[in-house]
C-alpha cells in the first residue's frame, strides 16, 4: 500500500508524513462522575471498523495540524463521501 492523505493545509501528501491519532471519539469527557469503565472506553476501546471510519491524523512532518478524515480501512484509501460511515 502507499497511503496518501489530504492535509487541510498542505494538500495530498505521502502517508508517512502523518501520524495516526485514533478513531474519532469526541471531546474529552467531563471528569465529574466519570466511571473507570467510561474512561477506559474513551481512552482505549476501539470499534476497529472494517470499512469507512472517521479518524484523526497529524501532519507531523509537515504543517503539524491535527485533522479528521474518512478512510476505508479495507483498502487504505481516503474517501470523499463517507455515506457508508458506521
Amino acid at each position: 500500500m502507499a497511503l496518501t492523505l489530504t492535509c487541510p493545509v498542505c494538500g495530498k501528501r505521502n502517508g508517512y508524513e502523518f501520524r495516526y491519532g485514533g478513531e474519532e471519539k469526541g471531546p474529552r469527557p467531563d471528569e465529574a462522575d466519570l466511571t473507570p469503565q467510561a474512561w477506559c472506553e474513551y481512552v482505549h476501546m476501539n470499534k476497529c471498523v472494517a470499512g469507512i471510519q472517521k479518524e484523526w491524523w497529524c501532519h507531523k512532518d509537515g504543517c503539524g495540524v491535527w485533522f479528521t478524515t474518512h478512510r476505508n480501512t479495507t483498502c487504505n484509501l481516503e474517501v470523499d463521501t463517507p455515506e457508508a460511515q458506521s
Binding site: A2, G26, R28, D30, E31, W39, V43, V65, L77
Partner: protein
C-alpha cells in the same frame, strides 16, 4: 558455436569479445550477450541441477521464469543468467551440483521420487524423535540454492531516485510505446519502463511482416526511436518493475551499463495514471520430462537465434498451441534448423498463411497433437508426440523441442495494484474483472495478437491515461476506440492443461521440483485451495517467482475439481515481482543523526561518543568508563555538561496557559515570575511520560523543557490533546535553536561570576530561579538554577550559534576552579545519588506518577482543565499492589548489583533500575521498582542477578536522596 551473421535483429556485437570463466574454464562471449547466451554459445546445455531430485536443467525461457539457469557469479548466488549481461572477467559457477552439472553424484535422487511425495517431510523424520536433529541438518544442507560467504562484500555503488510522472507505462513493447506516445501527445510527462536493455518487446526479434511491408523488428526500432526522441517521455530500459502500490506508486530497479555511476538503482515512481503493458510470457506445456535440457519455449528458441545469433539446435520438434509457434518453426527453419515435425494442440484456428508456409517447407504438421514425453538421460534426444487423448503416438529423434501451451499475460503489476483477476474463457487468460482507479491495460495481455491491434490498444490506453490526468480528450478517445474496434480482437487461447500423462515426471514447478503427481497427492489429502497447495507443495515459491507454475497450477486444480476453468483462481502475487538485491533496495545510506554544537570539542577533549536516539552524545570522559574523576570533580569543583539535546519550546498566545494546564499535572497558573517550575506530563493511563521545567516569560508566554526523547513529539502532543478546544496558542520547537550547558559544582558561581556582570549571587539568583543576562556583554543566556546532579548549578540556554563560544569561555574561566567536562554516565550517577529519576530508567510504560513517587506534582484541584492523566491518577491514587520506586543500600558493600537484576522472593517482586558504587558515599546505592508491600523503609530485598546460580544479594530499603538529603549543596 558459430553465430548466425547479418541478421538485422541481432543485439550482440561480434567485434567485441568478452572473456569470462565458467567452472574455472576460460571462455569467450560477445558484448551484448547475456550470461546464458554466452554459455549456450560455448556449448553449455546443462546449467544446473534441480533442488530435490538433482535433475539436469537448462535454458528453457529467457526471462528468468525459473531458477534453471541461476548461477553463482562473482560470489553472488542465484544470479539469473538469462537477464544478466555478460561483463569482462566474470566468474560463473553452477549451483546445486555435486560433481559437475553433467555428472552429478546426487542424480540418483531422481529415482527416489516415490519416497518424497508431496509434503513428505511433514510425515517423516520425526519418529523416533531423536532422528529429527540429525535429519534437520541434512535438510538444511540439501535446501537452498546459492551460497554466500559471511564476509562477502557487495561491490559497486547502489543508487536511488524518486521521479514523478503524469503517466507511468510499464512495458516498452509496441503497446507500451504506443501508450507512451499517445499520452505524451496530450502534453503529459511520461515515464516508460522496460525490462530488457532495449525497447521493442516481442516485436524486437521477429522478422514477420507487420502488414505494411516492414518487419516487426524494423517497425519496433522505428517506434523506439520516436519514443526516445520525444522529450516528454523519460525512458528507463533494463529496468524491472518490482512493485505497484495503491495511489499508483511504482517501484523498479534499473541495471547500470557501461558509464553509469551505479550497479543498480532503485526507482520509486509516483504517477497519476499507470498503464500496464507488460505483455505475455508462455504457458509451459506439461508432459513427462518437460524440463529436460533441449526443451525450450518458442520465444527462447527464436530469440537465441535472432537476438544472439545462436541456432538453438540441429533437429527440432515443435509442440505448441499458438500461432507464434508456427511462425517460429517457419522462421527457424529458414535460418537452417531442421524441423522434424510441428504438433499443434489446437484442432483449428491456425493462421492459414503460416500453415501454407510450413507446407511450402515440407514441415510435417500434426493437428491436435502434443508432446507427451521428452527422452534422453541428460539432454534431449527423442520426443514422443501423441494425440490429446493419448491414443496415437509417434516418436521423433531431435535435440530441440520447442514446447509451449500458449500465452499467459504478465499480470503481476495489475495484481499488485489490487486488481481482482478472473479467468476469461475465450483467451484462457487471468485478466482483471475491473481495473483499479487510474490503472489501464494495453496490448498482448488482453489476448490481442495482431500487431495493429496491439498498437491501437496502446494508443487507447495512453489516451485514457491522459483523461485520468484530467485532460479533456473526448474526441481523441472516440477516435482511438473506433480504431481499435475495427481491428482484430483477442485470439482464442489454447486451453490444454496437461498432455495425456500420469505426471510422475511432469514438472509444474521447476524451482521446487513439484510434479503433477505431487499436486494430485496434495489434493487427495484435502488441500483443495490453490493457495494451500502452493504452501503444501511449495510450487511457485522459488526464485522464479511462480513464472512457471503461475498459470498452470490454478488451471490444474480447477480441472481436478471438475470445475469449469472459470472458477480457477491464481495464487496471490507478491512484490518484488522479480528477485531484487538487498543492496539495490537499500540504495544509498540514509542514516542521519544529530550532533550538538559542541560535539567536536567534546570529542577532542576525550569524550566517548554514543548514539542515543537521534543524537550522538558524549557519554564518558574516562577511558575506563568508571567516570570517577568526572563525578568527583562535580562534587568538589565544577563540571560542564552539554545538555543541548533537551527539548525546548516556546508556547504563547491567549490560550497558552490552558494548553499547559491540559498537559502538565501541576497547576501551572501558579508559576511565579523569575522562577522555574518543575512538573511532569502523564498519558491518559496516568503513566509518567515526561518531566521538565516551565518558565513564565510573560503573560501567556512560556518557555519549557522536555526530556530529550520527547523533544520530537511534544508539539504534536499538545495539539492532540487540545484538538477539540479551538484554543489559540502557538508553539515553536526550539530544541535545535538553543544549546544548553549545565555547569554544576560548588565552584559554579565563581566561574559564572567571572564571565558576566549580572548578579548571580544566591540572593539575587536563588535556587529554582530564572534569569536572563549577558555573558561578556555579548552572549544572551537564559539561565536556570536547577539541581539535577545535586550541586549548585546553572543551566545556561544559549542560541546554538553562540554555544561553542560560551563553552570555550566557561572552560577558560573555569581553569582556576578545576573545571572539566562530565558526560552522561557521570550525570547518571550524580542524579541517582540524589534519587532524581530519568523517565524510562526508573519508570516504565506501566508506572504512574504515584508509583515513581512524584504524585505530589499532581494538582487535583483543576478538574476543569481536563488534565491528561488526571482521571487515572485519581483512580490509582490509593490502589494497592502497584510498583513503587525505592532507594536501597547493599548489605555487603563490596558488591554492586547489576542494572536490570531482579528483586525476588518466591516470585519476582521488582527490579533494580540503576545501582552504582557511589564514590561520594563510598558504598553502592541504587533505585529499584518493587511491589508496594516491599517499599517500606528497612525492608530486606533479595536481589537475583543473571548467572547468579541461586546466590542472592541482599539490600535494604533506605530513604532517599542518598546524597545531601537537605539539599544544602544545590541551594548554596
Amino acid at each position: 558455436m558459430k553465430r548466425l551473421e547479418n541478421l538485422p535483429t541481432l543485439r550482440i556485437h561480434p567485434e567485441k569479445t568478452l572473456r569470462f570463466e565458467y567452472r574455472k574454464k576460460k571462455l569467450k562471449g560477445l558484448s551484448g550477450d547475456t550470461l546464458a547466451s554466452a554459455l549456450y554459445a560455448n556449448g553449455i546445455r546443462i546449467f544446473s541441477r534441480s533442488l530435490k531430485y538433482h535433475r539436469p536443467r537448462g535454458l528453457y525461457s529467457l526471462d528468468g521464469e525459473s531458477s534453471n539457469t541461476c548461477m553463482q557469479v562473482n560470489g553472488i548466488p542465484n544470479v539469473c543468467t538469462e537477464t544478466t549481461l555478460l561483463a569482462d572477467g566474470m566468474q560463473l559457477e553452477p549451483q546445486n551440483i555435486s560433481g559437475s552439472p553433467e555428472w552429478d553424484m546426487k542424480g540418483f535422487m531422481d529415482n527416489l521420487d516415490w519416497a518424497m511425495p508431496a509434503g513428505f517431510y511433514y510425515r517423516s523424520m520425526h519418529k523416533p524423535a531423536r532422528i529429527w536433529p540429525i535429519a534437520l541438518k541434512q535438510v538444511r544442507k540439501a535446501a537452498g540454492l546459492g551460497k554466500i560467504s559471511p564476509d562477502f562484500q557487495m561491490p559497486g555503488r547502489y543508487d536511488e531516485i524518486y521521479p514523478t510522472a503524469d503517466v507511468c507505462v510499464i512495458g516498452g513493447g509496441p503497446a507500451g510505446m504506443s501508450a507512451a506516445l499517445a499520452a505524451a501527445e496530450q502534453g503529459l510527462r511520461v515515464i516508460l519502463l522496460e525490462i530488457r536493455p532495449w525497447l521493442g518487446g516481442f516485436f524486437d526479434y521477429r522478422t514477420a511482416d507487420n502488414g505494411n511491408g516492414t518487419s516487426l523488428a524494423q517497425s519496433a526500432r522505428q517506434m523506439a526511436q520516436q519514443v526516445e526522441q520525444n522529450a516528454s517521455v523519460r525512458v528507463f530500459t533494463h529496468t524491472t518493475v518490482v512493485g505497484v502500490y495503491n495511489n499508483n506508486l511504482v517501484t523498479a530497479f534499473q541495471k547500470g551499463r557501461d558509464g553509469d555511476s551505479f550497479e543498480e538503482r532503485y526507482l520509486e515512481i509516483r504517477a497519476t495514471s499507470v498503464v500496464v503493458a507488460s505483455g505475455c510470457i508462455e504457458r509451459p506445456l506439461l508432459f513427462d520430462n518437460n524440463e529436460r535440457p533441449g526443451v525450450m519455449q518458442i520465444g527462447c528458441a527464436q530469440r537465441l537465434a535472432h537476438t544472439y545469433g545462436l541456432l538453438p539446435g540441429k533437429q527440432a520438434v515443435f509442440s505448441i498451441g499458438h500461432d507464434l509457434g508456427l511462425e517460429a518453426a517457419v522462421d527457424l527453419s529458414d535460418l537452417g534448423l531442421a524441423v522434424a515435425c510441428v504438433a499443434d494442440i489446437r484442432e483449428d484456428g491456425q493462421d492459414p498463411v503460416l500453415l501454407a508456409a510450413l507446407k511450402e517447407r515440407d514441415i510435417p504438421f500434426l493437428r491436435g497433437w502434443v508432446a507427451t514425453r521428452a527422452q534422453g538421460s541428460k539432454t534431449l534426444n527423442k520426443v514422443t508426440l501423441a494425440t490429446k487423448t493419448g491414443t496415437l503416438t509417434k516418436e521423433f529423434a531431435c535435440d530441440l523441442l520447442v514446447a509451449s501451451a500458449g500465452m499467459t499475460p504478465l499480470t503481476g503489476p495489475l495484481s499488485l495494484a489490487q486488481a481482482k483477476l478472473a479467468y476469461e474463457p475465450y483467451t484462457g487468460f487471468f485478466i482483471p474483472k475491473q481495473l483499479p482507479d487510474k490503472v489501464q491495460v494495453a496490448g498482448r495481455m488482453l489476448g490481442l495478437n495482431s500487431p495493429a491491434s496491439i498498437e491501437a490498444s496502446g494508443q487507447l490506453a495512453g489516451v485514457i491515461a491522459a483523461a485520468d490526468c484530467g485532460k479533456s480528450v473526448e474526441g481523441r478517445l472516440q477516435e482511438a476506440r473506433a480504431q481499435l474496434n475495427q481491428l482484430p480482437g483477442p485470439d482464442q487461447g489454447c486451453k490444454l492443461v496437461t498432455a495425456p500423462v500420469q505426471g510422475r515426471k511432469t514438472f509444474i514447478c521447476f524451482d521446487e521440483d513439484t510434479t503433477i503427481k505431487n499436486v494430485k497427492q496434495a489434493l487427495e489429502m484435502g488441500f483443495d485451495a490453490t493457495e494451500l497447495i502452493k504452501r503444501f507443495t511449495a510450487a511457485g515459491t522459488g526464485p522464479g517467482q511462480a513464472g512457471i507454475p503461475g498459470h498452470n497450477l490454478p488451471l490444474f486444480v480447477a480441472q481436478y475439481h471438475g470445475d469449469t476453468q472459470a472458477t480457477a483462481m491464481p495464487t496471490t502475487m507478491r512484490a518484488p515481482l522479480v528477485g531484487t538485491f538487498i543492496a539495490t533496495y537499500a540504495g544509498s545510506n540514509h542514516d542521519m543523526c544529530k550532533r550538538t554544537p559542541v560535539h567536536e570539542s567534546q570529542k577532542n577533549a576525550g569524550g566517548i561518543i554514543r548514539r542515543i536516539g537521534v543524537w550522538e552524545r558524549a557519554r564518558y570522559f574516562s577511558e575506563d568508563l568508571s567516570c570517577r574523576e568526572e563525578i568527583e570533580n562535580v562534587r568538589q569543583n565544577v563540571g560542564l555538561l552539554d545538555a543541548s539535546t533537551l527539548g525546548k519550546f516556546r508556547l504563547w498566545g491567549p490560550d497558552a496557559l490552558k494548553a499547559l494546564q491540559r498537559v502538565y499535572v501541576s497547576d501551572m497558573s501558579k508559576i511565579a515570575d523569575g522562577k522555574v517550575r518543575y512538573s511532569a506530563m502523564c498519558n491518559d493511563d496516568g503513566c509518567i511520560i515526561d518531566d521538565g521545567v516551565v518558565v513564565k516569560k510573560a503573560e501567556n508566554d512560556y518557555y519549557f523543557t522536555t526530556s530529550t526523547a520527547r523533544a520530537g513529539a511534544t508539539v504534536e502532543w499538545l495539539r492532540y490533546h487540545t484538538r477539540y478546544d479551538g484554543w489559540r496558542f502557538h508553539m515553536v520547537n526550539l530544541t535545535d535553536a538553543f544549546g544548553v550547558i549545565n555547569m554544576a559544582g560548588p565552584n559554579a558561581r565563581k566561574v559564572l561570576g567571572k564571565v558576566t556582570d549580572a548578579d548571580v549571587s544566591d540572593a539575587a539568583f536563588p535556587y529554582a530561579g530564572y534569569r536572563e543576562f549577558m555573558i561578556q556583554d555579548t552572549i544572551p543566556v537564559r539561565s536556570m538554577r536547577l539541581g539535577f546532579v545535586g550541586e549548585l548549578s546553572f543551566e545556561l540556554h544559549v542560541p546554538s550559534s553562540y554555544m561553542q563560544t560560551l563553552w570555550d569561555i566557561l572552560l577558560d574561566a573555569g581553569k582556576a576552579f578545576g573545571i572539566r567536562h562530565f558526560g552522561l554516565e557521570a550525570q547518571n550517577v550524580l542524579r541517582m545519588e540524589k534519587a532524581h529519576l530519568i523517565i524510562g530508567s526508573e519508570s516504565e510504560q506501566r508506572t504512574t506518577l504515584h508509583d515513581v513517587g512524584l504524585g505530589f506534582l499532581w494538582d487535583r484541584n483543576k478538574s476543569d482543565a481536563k488534565t491528561v492523566g488526571a482521571v487515572a491518577l485519581k483512580q490509582t491514587e490509593n490502589q494497592e499492589d502497584r510498583l513503587k520506586l525505592v532507594g536501597f543500600k547493599m548489605e555487603d558493600p563490596s558488591r554492586t548489583p547489576k542494572d536490570g537484576s531482579l528483586i525476588v522472593d518466591s516470585r519476582i517482586r521488582g527490579h533494580v533500575c540503576i545501582a552504582r558504587h557511589s564514590f561520594t558515599l563510598k558504598e553502592p546505592v541504587g533505585l529499584a521498582l518493587v511491589d508496594a508491600p516491599l517499599a517500606a523503609e528497612g525492608t530486606r530485598l533479595q536481589i537475583y542477578e543473571d548467572e547468579c546460580n541461586g546466590q542472592h544479594l541482599h539490600a535494604t530499603v533506605v530513604p532517599t536522596p542518598f546524597y545531601d538529603p537537605e539539599g544544602k549543596q544545590l541551594k548554596m
